[in-house]
């Protein structure tokens, strides 16, 4: 039996905002729709930006990609600030229990010294890769066009800071909170030959001005190579014979990667399907960055995986190529 509560009902003048009615008809809108569609100014800009006087403050011409409607680039996760923060808070609560479990039992510090050295050498420097990705996503969020792409890029910016801090915690669990592993990782990132290829490409992204190219290089290509190589292949190699303590921490990164890939794929697929020029342009970027990043990653993967590294790289590149093909790219 259901209990019926009668409330006074008044027929509203409209069921949603005018800009949403024009897109979806006069029906109740979701909170994602309300927070996203048509929020960014598009007309009657007042001043020439001192930092880019040739263009408007918000200007679709900051990328060579073209869209009839930039709000076609929607986020299948339907994130707005509220469900974004509550989702991340819940995930963080779960990983906090794992971190606590590992810290109390000193599980990472109990690993053999060569394994600990390997984690410092091959995993902890990725905190700098994440900080680089933070810069790339901040670039997309700052100079992208339309709230549909810039809002999730903002959230991704913060995610990358969160991932950099998560990887830093792996370092602190190894060094007993002395921070020595973080200093060592910093030196590896800036000076060790194994990492220079990747750092070179990250810095190249810093000077890439087309925000959609940055999106492709960082989020589509680099992440699709880095995450499975380090957090699956290298992680599995470490776990073999050493237990799953590290894997319980990298699992968090892989889950985040899989969730984020839904957004990346939706954006790429839509932009590629929009017109032939986009398809050619984005495919070109994918090839260029893939062919830069694969050799850039090879030394550090070789260091970690030895004679298994070629197979690992080949498997990850094959998976990436097939994902790219599914998105409509010619690779």
């Amino acid at each position: 039996m259901t209990v019926e509560i009668r409330t006074k009902s008044v027929k509203p003048l409209s069921l949603s905002f005018g800009h949403l009615q024009r897109r979806f008809g006069d029906k109740p809108a979701t909170r994602y729709q309300e927070a996203t569609y048509d929020i960014q100014s598009t007309a009657n800009f007042h001043y020439k930006p001192l930092w880019d006087p040739e263009r408007e403050m918000f200007d679709a011409r900051r990328t060579a990609v073209t869209m009839k409607d930039w709000y076609a680039l929607k986020d299948p996760r339907q994130f707005y600030y509220g469900n974004y923060t509550t989702t991340r808070a819940k995930q963080q609560d779960a990983i906090d229990r794992t971190l606590d479990f590992i810290e109390k039992r000193d599980l990472l510090r109990a690993l053999p010294v060569d394994v600990r050295d390997l984690i410092v050498h091959a995993i902890v420097p990725l905190r700098h890769y994440e900080w680089g990705a933070n810069t790339g996503s901040a670039h997309v969020a700052a100079y992208g066009y339309g709230t549909a792409i810039t809002s999730p890029a903002m959230m991704n910016t913060m995610d990358r800071l969160g991932m950099a801090q998560h990887i830093s915690r792996i370092g602190l669990l190894l060094d007993g909170n002395s921070g020595d592993s973080l200093s060592a990782a910093h030196a590896l990132w800036t000076d060790h030959a194994d990492w220079q290829g990747l750092r070179r490409e990250v810095e190249r992204m810093f000077v890439t001005r087309d925000w959609f190219e940055v999106f492709v290089a960082q989020l589509l290509v680099a992440d699709a190579l880095v995450y499975p190589l380090f957090f699956q292949h290298i992680d599995a190699a470490i776990a073999g014979g050493n237990g799953s303590a590290l894997s319980s921490l990298t699992d968090y990164l892989m889950r985040w990667f899989d969730e984020t890939a839904k957004w990346i794929d939706a954006v790429i697929k839509t932009a590629v399907a929009e017109n032939a020029d986009n398809k050619a342009l984005i495919s070109g970027w994918v090839l260029t960055w893939r062919d830069r990043l694969v050799p850039a990653l090879t030394p550090i993967v070789q260091h970690a995986l030895g004679n298994q590294s070629e197979d690992a790289v080949a498997a990850v590149v094959a998976a990436f190529n097939s994902r790219a093909a599914k998105l409509g790219l010619s690779v």
Binding site: S14, G82, W131, T147, Q165
Partner: protein, 535 residues
């Protein structure tokens, strides 16, 4: 099998140490690309920074803490918003005039939060130091929160009242909304240091209480549970932003003496620009809130003259002086609200909300709050207009006002020494005359005329014929330029604008709630008379 040296227990980290380890050192000196090619916008303003690591991050929030803290606030806020919507909370406010004030909020303020989000994102990308970048990123995300929660809160009102459901469209087009739009675009199109001085210091630190207090207290006084809950929830964000504002100023001033004159110039400019923007609140506080919190002149005394006075006394050791045009704001405080309401009333057919003349009760309150100005200058005007309304010949302005090239207000303000003379200033630049409302705005124009000549002045644009929808034929015999300009702006003529009494909101309000649409005037319609028998 712990190796040697690993036997001792892990060090306990304080919050500060934890933050430093997880954050500082994330960046590095680039060597494959030149620093100036990576961070391209930080040099042109002339600010000198010797050591970005001297930046003391005021928040020390790691992302996990941010997500949890903010996620908890969001859970609470959305529970209230859900309950508000379920229970038709939009009908619990004092009267339908309060809703007219909310229209100013959704149409004029919410997009500023969004612009702030985007502006901080540019800093989040362009500052070379890790600390300031993270601070800018967190503020950027907070500002996105504020835009989002405001939209989600007010969307319930937009379903039941006129003039609220085209807010992004109107923000780009309505003539008086170019006041907030041009303000924030001016900041975002500046360099990153000017932006952060403008927004974090001049606006957030010096003036934010003036924006927050009247809106949020006004919401509390008038039964608007949704808006006041948003306000309470945003309070701790704002406290962080204010901390950033003072931290920025101290950092810039301590880095190099060459920064002092630049910072002073920006404080002078943005204090004045922020003051002109916020004086919209003067008229909102004094005229639009059915239950008033305090008068504008009282708010200015507390939040600028006292608090600001103490702040600038503190900054004197750096060689910083109070804002150049502060004396004008004090001289005007008894006038601005009344002058603005008069202009909006006279132009009520061209605005997106509905207008009324103050009641006897309200005028008595204003006489008490403004003993030196109201009875002498403004009461006679309202009484005259009331008589015109009673005679069936209400006063209306049928042309659009002259706008200031800088703040974009109509040139409605009077000279400090003489409330009967309009304050008009002008500058010749490249063979053309540009008009300003005040010495403060003229200072700003004269410093950077090449920027302000680009301003998209709506009244100029309307008269040049640039504000008509596609397909409108200005040569058609029945062409009505005002009607067509309103349609271009997203204002529904005859629905959104005009007189409050007899308007859609007042009439619907009485039908839906059986309560008077204006608590100071009693019922307008039989819907109330029927149900409230001689209350």
């Amino acid at each position: 099998m712990a190796a040697e040296g690993n036997a001792k227990p892990a060090k306990k980290l304080s919050l500060k140490e934890n933050y430093a380890l997880l954050t500082r050192g994330l960046g590095w000196e680039p060597s494959y690309e030149k620093k100036e090619d990576i961070f391209r916008t930080i040099d042109f303003e002339g600010v000198v920074i010797h050591d970005w690591d001297k930046w003391e991050d005021p928040f020390r929030l790691t992302m996990d803490a941010y997500w949890k803290y903010q996620g908890e606030k969001e859970r609470k806020l959305y529970a209230i918003i859900d309950a508000f919507q379920q229970n038709n909370g939009q009908f619990n406010v004092t009267d339908a005039r309060y809703v007219q004030a909310l229209k100013v909020f959704i149409n004029g303020i919410t997009e500023l939060e969004y612009l702030s989000h985007r502006g901080f994102n540019m800093l989040a990308r362009e500052f070379p130091g890790v600390g300031p970048r993270i601070a800018a990123q967190m503020q950027s995300l907070d500002e996105l929160r504020h835009a989002t929660t405001q939209i989600h809160t007010i969307s319930q009102y937009a379903k039941y009242f006129t003039g609220m459901n085209e807010f992004p469209y109107q923000f780009d087009r309505v003539w008086y909304l170019s006041i907030p739009k041009s303000f924030f675009e001016d900041a975002v199109t500046s360099g990153p240091f000017e932006f952060i001085v403008a927004i974090s210091f001049a606006f957030e630190y010096v003036l934010t209480n003036l924006a927050f207090m009247p809106w949020m207290s006004g919401a509390a006084f008038n039964g608007d549970m949704a808006t006041v809950s948003f306000g309470f929830s945003a309070q701790s964000d704002e406290a962080r932003h204010m901390t950033l504002g003072i931290e920025v100023i101290k950092f810039l001033l301590e880095q190099d003496p060459a920064n002092v004159p630049l910072v002073q110039k920006w404080i002078d400019k943005w204090f004045w620009r922020g003051y002109r923007l916020l004086s919209l609140l003067a008229t909102m506080m004094d005229y639009m809130l059915p239950k008033r919190v305090m008068a504008w002149n009282e708010a200015w005394e507390i939040y600028y003259e006292q608090n600001g006075g103490a702040l600038f006394a503190d900054l004197a050791r750096y060689g910083i002086k109070p804002p150049k045009r502060a004396p004008e704001t004090i001289a005007e405080k008894g006038h601005v609200a009344h002058q603005m309401w008069s202009v909006f009333y006279a132009n009520r057919d061209a605005v997106g909300f509905q207008m009324w003349l103050p009641s006897e009760e309200e005028m008595a309150w204003m006489s008490e709050k403004y003993p030196d100005t109201f009875d002498q200058y403004y009461r006679p005007r309202y009484e005259y207009w009331k008589a015109m309304e009673a005679a069936g010949t209400p006063f209306k302005n049928t042309t659009l006002p002259q706008l200031c090239q800088v703040c974009q207000w109509p040139c409605l303000f009077t000279d400090s020494g003489d409330p009967t003379t309009l304050s008009l200033r002008e500058t010749e630049y490249q063979g053309q005359t540009f008009h300003m409302c005040s010495d403060g705005c003229k200072d700003i124009f004269d410093d950077t005329p090449e920027k302000y000549v680009h301003a998209w002045l709506p009244v100029h644009q309307i008269y040049q014929g640039n504000c008509f929808l596609p397909g409108v034929d200005p040569t058609a015999p029945d062409f009505n330029p005002m009607y067509e300009a309103l349609r271009y702006m997203g204002i529904k003529p005859g629905v959104d604008n005009g007189d409050f009494k007899g308007g859609a909101d007042a009439t619907n309000w009485e039908k839906w709630t059986s309560r008077p649409a204006n608590i100071h005037e009693g019922a307008y319609t039989d819907a109330v008379r029927d149900s409230h028998i001689k209350s």
